[in-house]
């Protein structure tokens, strides 16, 4: 639900911006000054400038909020890191999107480095997120050892075997499905089909089977693959952070030049 709201907000904002400025943004640069919304949507316009400022603030909050939470031990009790990450992802995708519309799709000058850096950071964030979710972790976000994974698997297997409502054959089939290298969606469908034969929908066992399908799917990767993801994720940090720093540095220059030339947005 939390993620859904954030996604909906992002999509809504995107649709609103596209609908608002589509006719303006598709014009060649030489024609834009003659568009009726030019004064609002140009980078220094009331809306365009506002998008830049709000987007920048979102990025700053998203980056530094998450970094602080993650690195400052004093804040470790402030919410689960998982939500912080999701909020970080939300702000740092919505913010760049606003900045993208702030640029009015003009990419030039030194500030473009900031922009492309931002794009790189966002794309790497998406990639990072992809890798991250494939690394089995604790609730706190700590990566699990292989032995811990093995232990969890054994516990789950024991619990499955203790389920009297299921036949042995069904149990065996379920276990095979859980460990098969297929997609989560396919696994869930197969499990539901088997479970419905013996267990009522909504019963604790049914829900448990579905939950364990997700867990087992995460744990289903073999040891080498998990280690690969872990290594990728370590090096990803090396990639993700420098671009963020470049983005922020040039953004500062861009903001400084703008302020120096008197572009105070609505505070003239």
């Amino acid at each position: 639900m939390y993620i859904t709201i954030l996604v909906v907000i992002e999509i809504a904002v995107f649709i609103w911006l596209v609908r608002l400025g589509h006719s303006y943004y598709v014009l060649p640069l030489e024609e834009r000054p003659f568009h009726e919304l030019h004064r609002q949507l140009k980078p220094s316009g009331d809306i365009g400038h506002g998008l830049g400022i709000v987007g920048t603030l979102m990025i700053l909050i998203g980056v530094f909020g998450y970094m602080t939470r993650k690195r400052w031990r004093a804040l470790q009790r402030w919410g689960r890191l998982k939500y912080w990450l999701e909020f970080h992802i939300f702000l740092c995708t919505l913010g760049p999107m606003l900045v993208l519309f702030h640029t009015a799709f003009k990419f030039g000058g030194i500030v473009s480095i900031s922009f492309w850096s931002m794009v790189t950071v966002v794309l790497s964030g998406v990639f990072g997120r992809y890798v991250y979710v494939r690394i089995p972790q604790t609730v706190e976000g700590r990566a699990l050892d292989w032995s811990e994974i093995e232990e969890i698997k054994r516990t789950v297997e024991q619990r499955l075997k203790g389920a009297n409502e299921l036949s042995d054959e069904q149990k065996q089939t379920i276990w095979q499905i859980w460990n098969a290298p297929t997609s989560l969606w396919k696994k869930k469908r197969q499990i539901k089909r088997i479970a419905r034969k013996s267990v009522d929908r909504g019963s604790p066992l049914y829900d448990w089977l579905i939950e364990q399908t997700e867990l087992m799917h995460k744990l289903s990767s073999d040891k080498e693959r998990i280690n690969l993801y872990k290594r990728l994720f370590k090096y990803w940090h090396v990639f993700h952070l420098p671009f963020a720093i470049i983005m922020l540095l040039i953004m500062l220059i861009h903001v400084g030049v703008s302020l120096a030339l008197g572009f105070y947005w609505i505070f003239d």
């Binding site: 640069l29 030489e30 030039g108 000058g109 030194i110 090396v238 420098p242 470049i246 030339l261 008197g262």
Partner: protein, 624 residues
């Protein structure tokens, strides 16, 4: 240890990214690093990081003053409150509202909607034909821009003057000044309602209808161009524009005869004052059309020149002499110019010049008997005698065919009503040709109605009794003259000639000597009560009723003497008496004797006659 490793890796990555970024950014000039976009080509020289403040004011964006520092032509206009930029709705706006930059080299920094641009904001309203011009560049082009600097910029909208001549060529070559609006309006160069009254030559009459170009003609200037002259067109004399068709043969000014209403005769006639000539028009001459005296068929060069140089014009120069010289040539002795019919002295009036020459009795009639109106010249009907004379015949004399009243001249002449010219020959053509003694009868005997005491010619009858009294009425059996037709007995030669009557139709056909006797011998007239009446009826057929009995009753028997015993109509002698039928037969010598030998005259009762019945039948009666 691990974290240090990551940090080193991060710094190294950062360095590599910075170098790559620097290389990427370095492909563009330094000015582009902070510029939001290239300046348009007009501002290209300002596209340098060191020149940002040429336009931008630190902390205050772009100020108009910065723009006007360079664009002094706009500043010049603003100072003088002229042009579009000086309009109140424009001058207070930031320049960049309309002329923003950083939109690329090819950006049109000056672009406006030509179709919807409100030209009124420039201070020069587009009106009339100007408002209909589609292409702004028809006016806003370098040829029309006086400022040399501005005229070099093909894209500029500045530098256009508001005088007409700024854009329009002066077709009048300066001859009409520079204020074109005195004559032209903004709708069209063509002037529909130019008020020529403002000029030295107000258009009147036909001049007002003439096309301008008829007087304002094109001239060919020295440079070969055509020029339509409107100013300083000669106009003091008519011949400045019009040809003198009279070629100087007329000494008067054109205006003496002609007006601006046209060259028509009617105008010339009204216009020209003939008193200016040697022959002032008086009387009827004033009403006469010019062409009556002046030959209109003359060529214009000879027109009105007939009398030129003459001082006295005799009437016969124009008028025919109807008197054929009988009254000389000085018409004015009798006539006045008011009218030929008004004479100074009526006694000299020659009526023969009129359509009714006076002849016969007419010549001696007093003028006023016919000319009863005020003026002798008043038209008088005169084609018919009855126009003046009363028709004594009361319209009775008409043409037998047309039934129209017969012209008096058939019978009468101007020599008098009597005698009439109607002669016997004409009478013979009437329904009653004259014969016999009628020819000798005076007209009055038949045609004068004594009762009405007037002549009558129609319906007076054509039978004898219509004129003659029927004296036989009551005395003559109608079977001998049915319907009183006298001609059964009488001839027009003479009443007494009644040879036409056939006595054989009567009860007493005439034989012998009867045929030789006069009618009156038998039909004797009885004179009674003063009238003579001839008896034709009830006449006894006895001989004695006509004849005397010379025998004095010697042969009377029963009181009647039958003469036919002895006599026949062939004559008294010889008698048809046969002595042998008598008592004394003649025999012997007796037969040879003369009657008188025996029958001797006797006198008895005073009558002497031969006694035939002497009763002598005895010898002794005679013989002794």
């Amino acid at each position: 240890m691990k974290q240090k490793k990551y940090l080193r890796l991060s710094i190294r990555a950062l360095w590599h990214i910075a170098v790559m970024g620097g290389l990427f950014v370095g492909t563009q000039p330094i000015s582009a690093q902070f510029s939001p976009g290239p300046l348009y080509k007009g501002h290209e020289e300002l596209d340098d990081i060191s020149k940002c403040t040429e336009c931008h004011v630190l902390g205050h964006k772009v100020q108009n003053e910065k723009c006007l520092n360079c664009h002094d032509e706009i500043a010049w206009l603003l100072e003088r409150g002229r042009g579009y930029h000086a309009h109140s709705t424009v001058r207070n706006q930031p320049c960049y509202n309309c002329h923003s930059d950083h939109h690329g080299r090819n950006f049109q920094i000056i672009r406006f909607d030509e179709k919807n641009f409100d030209h009124n904001l420039t201070g020069y309203r587009l009106e009339g034909a100007h408002a209909r011009i589609d292409d702004c560049r028809k006016c806003h082009n370098s040829q029309n821009i006086r400022n040399a600097e501005l005229s070099k910029d093909p894209d500029t909208w500045l530098g256009l003057g508001t005088d007409c001549l700024n854009c329009h060529e002066d077709e009048h070559r300066g001859t009409l000044g520079t204020d074109c609006k005195k004559c032209h309006n903004l709708e069209s160069f063509k002037i529909e309602d130019f008020n020529h009254d403002k000029t030295d030559f107000p258009l009147r009459g036909k001049h007002a209808q003439v096309d301008c170009k008829q007087c304002h003609k094109k001239e060919l200037l020295a440079d070969g161009s055509e020029f339509l002259r409107y100013a300083d067109v000669p106009h003091t004399r008519c011949t400045d524009c019009h040809d003198d068709v009279h070629r100087g043969t007329i000494s008067f000014d054109c205006a003496a005869c002609h007006t601006e209403q046209g060259f028509k005769w009617s105008i010339v006639r009204r216009r020209f004052n003939h008193r200016k000539t040697n022959y002032p028009l008086e009387g009827a001459h004033r009403k006469v059309d010019c062409k009556k005296c002046h030959d209109a068929s003359n060529r214009l060069t000879a027109l009105f020149a007939e009398f030129r140089g003459e001082t006295i014009q005799d009437c016969d120069r124009c008028h025919d002499d109807p008197h054929e010289g009988r009254f000389g040539t000085q018409c004015s002795e009798c006539h006045v110019v008011e009218s030929f019919y008004l004479l100074k002295d009526m006694s000299k009036f020659d009526h023969s010049v009129t359509d009714f020459p006076l002849k016969g009795k007419h010549a001696s009639v007093d003028c006023k008997q016919c000319h009863t109106s005020q003026h002798y010249s008043d038209p008088l009907p005169h084609n018919h005698c009855t126009d003046c004379h009363e028709d004594a015949h009361r319209g009775e004399i008409v043409d037998p065919v047309t039934k129209a009243v017969t012209d008096c001249a058939q019978c009468h002449t101007e020599e008098g009503f009597s005698p009439s010219t109607f002669d016997i020959d004409q009478h013979q053509t009437t329904a009653f040709p004259l014969e016999g003694v009628h020819i000798a009868v005076p007209c009055v005997d038949c045609h004068l109605d004594q009762g009405e005491n007037r002549w009558k010619f129609e319906n007076i009858g054509k039978f004898c009794v219509d004129c003659h009294e029927d004296v036989h009425q009551g005395f003559l059996d109608e079977r001998f003259y049915p319907n009183q037709r006298c001609e059964n007995c009488h001839q027009t030669e003479s009443w007494s000639d009644i040879r036409a009557f056939d006595h054989s139709v009567t009860d007493f056909p005439l034989e012998g000597k009867h045929r030789e006797v006069r009618c009156g011998d038998c039909h004797r007239a009885d004179q009674a009560e003063g009238s003579v009446q001839i008896q034709f009826r009830d006449i006894s057929q006895q001989c004695a009723s006509c004849h005397d009995d010379i025998h004095y009753g010697q042969f009377e028997e029963d009181g009647r003497t039958d003469c036919q015993r002895c006599h026949t109509p062939q004559g008294w002698k010889p008698s048809t008496f046969d002595h042998n039928t008598a008592r004394f037969r003649l025999e012997g010598k007796h037969a040879e004797l003369e009657c008188s030998a025996c029958h001797l005259p006797t006198v008895r009762d005073g009558h002497t006659y031969i006694l035939y019945a002497n009763g002598k039948i005895h010898c002794a009666d005679c013989h002794r």
